[in-house]
Amino acid sequence: MMLTKPDPQHTQLYLDGVSVSFDGFRALNNLSLIIMPGEMRAIIGPNGAGKTTMMDVITGKTKPDRGTILFDGDTNLTEMDEAGIATLGIGRKFQKPTVFESHTVWDNIDLALAGRRGPFATLFHRDGADDDRILAILETIRLSGRRDVLAGALSHGQKQWLEIGMLLAQEPKLLLVDEPVAGMTDAETAETARLLREIAQTRSVVVVEHDMTFVRDLDVKVTVLHEGSVLSDGSLDHVSADPRVIEVYLGR
């Protein structure tokens, strides 16, 4: 645990003293967190610990009441909207898989591809220019064989992968992943862990997860959130041994 106030420079994501409350309920309470470039971090915590609100605050869905959020050490995220933050290079995977169900797998990836996002750019966009990139991503997420299937017809696990594929297509520097293995079979969970580790080689990834086996599979630094602030962090073994963590998870 860092006690001195760190230098935001050279960090990928820098949260300092972030607080959010909803009708008197403090969802985030003076939360500080640092993710370094290329780092993968797992975030765990009981229900209501503020995990999803933290994601909301980083991606611009919720504005914090107080605190600093910097990206790449210098860009202030609190002043930007979701679309701006997304183009900056932050991708987000929702808890519930959200893909465009009435589009084909191919079109889902196509829409996510990094590129110009204005309405006129898309109106005059030429199909076919990005086929190679789409094919490569479909390969990575193992959906090449289902490229013309409507996303709504995919299985739950396939939707999760498609969403991860869409995030890859966005080419983000930082990926926020909310409970990626909820509702997956064991085989799918293992496959997802592999996929995420592969992705993390080239960018920072923050994973929020309940599934301890999965977190162990990831084998990365773990941060425990509780009541909107950091309770403990370190390796999974380290935090599991922390008496405060044990009390939060098992106590009461």
Partner: protein, 531 residues
């Protein structure tokens, strides 16, 4: 009957007077105007208030001389014949042909004498209320001839309020006198300024251009004060109108606050539920008129539960028959319920016809009362109170009853509620029925102030939605505040912009407001409301 009348007249009028003044009244029937005037003076000197009806009749040309016995009587023309009453006792004296009577004529001189005499008599009436209205009448007429009478009355007056009115009347007469000294003028101005109102303003405005600087200054100041007071009174009146409109809007919107705000169902047929409530009132009144006219004053109270049951029942049918298949598809619900509204309107049109139905006001809904400068009609007042009562009852129902608890549970977490053994389908139907039933209640109230036609509901649906959204969806207090404040804003805008433009401005205002606060006045914040 006659004995009763006699007893009554004994109570009101000392009998001695009646005996003494009888011949004097008959003297009014004299041939020439001079003699009549003499008779009038003599009458006035009796100080008998019982002669007032006779003098009034004389002034209105309703005093006659009976040719058979020269008795003077009051007559009411009824076609060819004239119904007679005794001028002093008010006793009916039967009917006589117009040829048997001679109308007692008055000239202008006599008329003035009558006025003065009447003023003097009423100013000395033992009844304070009569003296009060006499003083007010003198203030309006400002007849300098009554001044001596006024002075006497003023000296004798014991009632503080009447005394003030008398002083005001005296001041009004004095002001008209150009020869009056400056100091007297100033004190008269002060007295009249104290009275206030449009009449005082009319008296004082000419004086603002007086050649005497002190008088002009005092008058200007007084006019400014009165205008200020009048402006406040007008604003207060507008706020009252606004609260009244707001309560109407509240009644229309509060059912919607349940179906849309609490359940999230977009019921475009909500206005038709209101309309059904109004038609229920019509039917109830028709039945009462035909079978039990004595119950008419109770018609609204009888209609209330029936309207609740009719609109609520149809609401439950709609929920079971259409809406439950569309949960989670708000836009489709909107379209289907719009279709329902068309069907309901046309059904009512086919049954009752397209014209406005005649819905009567019970006696207790009619009339008005005055608070200072502000007039409040009883109808509006009852509707306002009724709106608040419905609101309070709904609050109690939602907060304090098991059904309310179940409703809130279902709307907050449907699957959890179901897991806990709440029959969600039943609760849905009842909630929708409740919202519709309240709309029916609103219909009973609206039948008193709006045209009862098949289109009744159409006029309220957009306003109602606006109010629920403005107040914050899911927040009943928001609906209350939203309805009342919109009503007031609407009425305050009306004098400035006109009724239609005022309404447009309010609509545009709400549209802009929703842009700024998409979740309304009292927004629920947080993750829970994201669907």
């Amino acid at each position: 009957m006659r004995i009763l009348l006699l007893l009554l007249s004994l109570l009101v009028t000392p009998l001695v007077w009646a005996q003494a003044t009888g011949p004097l009244i008959d003297a009014l029937g004299a041939d020439d105007f001079a003699a009549r005037e003499q008779a009038l003076t003599a009458l006035t000197e009796t100080d008998d208030p019982a002669i007032v009806p006779a003098l009034k009749a004389l002034e209105n040309g309703q005093l006659y001389r009976r040719l058979s016995d020269d008795k003077v009587v009051i007559g009411q023309e009824q076609g060819e014949s004239i119904t007679l009453t005794d001028p002093l006792t008010g006793e009916a004296l039967g009917t006589q042909a117009a040829g048997d009577l001679e109308r007692i004529r008055v000239n202008n001189r006599l008329r003035r004498a009558i006025d003065a005499s009447l003023g003097a008599l009423t100013l000395r009436s033992p009844d304070a209320a009569v003296r009060q209205s006499a003083a007010d009448a003198v203030f309006v007429s400002r007849d300098a001839a009554t001044l001596p009478l006024l002075e006497t009355a003023l000296a004798a007056e014991t009632d503080a309020r009447v005394k003030r009115s008398l002083e005001q009347a005296r001041a009004a007469i004095l002001l008209a006198d150009a020869t009056l000294g400056t100091d007297d003028k100033l004190s008269a101005i002060a007295i009249i300024a104290d009275k206030g109102g449009q009449a005082a303003l009319a008296l004082l405005s000419p004086l603002t251009s007086s050649t005497e600087p002190a008088v002009a200054k005092a008058a200007t100041e007084a006019v400014r004060l009165i205008e200020n007071k009048l402006a406040w009174a007008a604003a207060a009146q507008n706020v009252i109108y606004g609260l009244s409109l707001g309560s109407v809007l509240l009644l229309a919107a509060i059912g919607l606050a349940v179906t849309f705000g609490v359940m999230g169902v977009i019921n475009m047929a909500h206005g038709e539920m209101v309309m059904l409530g109004a038609y229920t009132t019509f039917v109830v009144q028709e039945i009462i008129r035909a079978h039990a006219p004595g119950l008419f004053d109770w018609s609204l109270l009888i209609a209330l539960p029936l309207a609740f049951v009719v609109a609520g029942g149809i609401g439950i049918l709609i929920e079971r028959g259409v809406i439950r298949f569309l949960y989670g598809r708000p836009l489709e619900t909107l379209l289907a319920t719009w279709g329902l509204s068309l069907v309901l309107q046309q059904a009512v049109r086919s049954i009752f016809g397209p014209t406005n139905m005649e819905v009567g006001n019970p006696a207790w809904m009619a009339g008005a009362f005055q608070v200072g400068e502000v007039t409040i009609t009883y109808g509006r007042m009852w509707i306002f109170l009724f709106g608040l009562m419905v609101f309070a009852a709904l609050m109690l129902l939602l907060r304090r009853t098991p059904l309310g608890l179940q409703m809130r549970a279902v709307t907050q977490n449907r699957s959890m509620a179901r897991a806990m053994g709440i029959r969600t389908a039943r609760v849905d139907a009842l909630t929708f029925g409740l919202g519709s039933g309240i709309a029916g209640l609103a219909g009973v109230a609206l039948s008193q102030i709006d045209n009862v036609s098949p289109n009744l509901g159409q006029g309220y649906i957009i306003d109602s939605f606006m109010i629920v959204i403005f107040g914050g969806v899911g927040n009943l207090w928001g609906t209350l505040v939203g309805a009342l404040s919109l009503g007031i804003v609407n009425k305050l805008l009306e004098p400035l912009a006109g009724a239609v433009l005022g309404k447009i401005l309010v609509l545009v205002g709400i549209i802009l407001f929703i842009q700024a606060r998409p979740r309304g006045l009292f927004a629920l914040k947080g993750r829970a409301i994201e669907h």
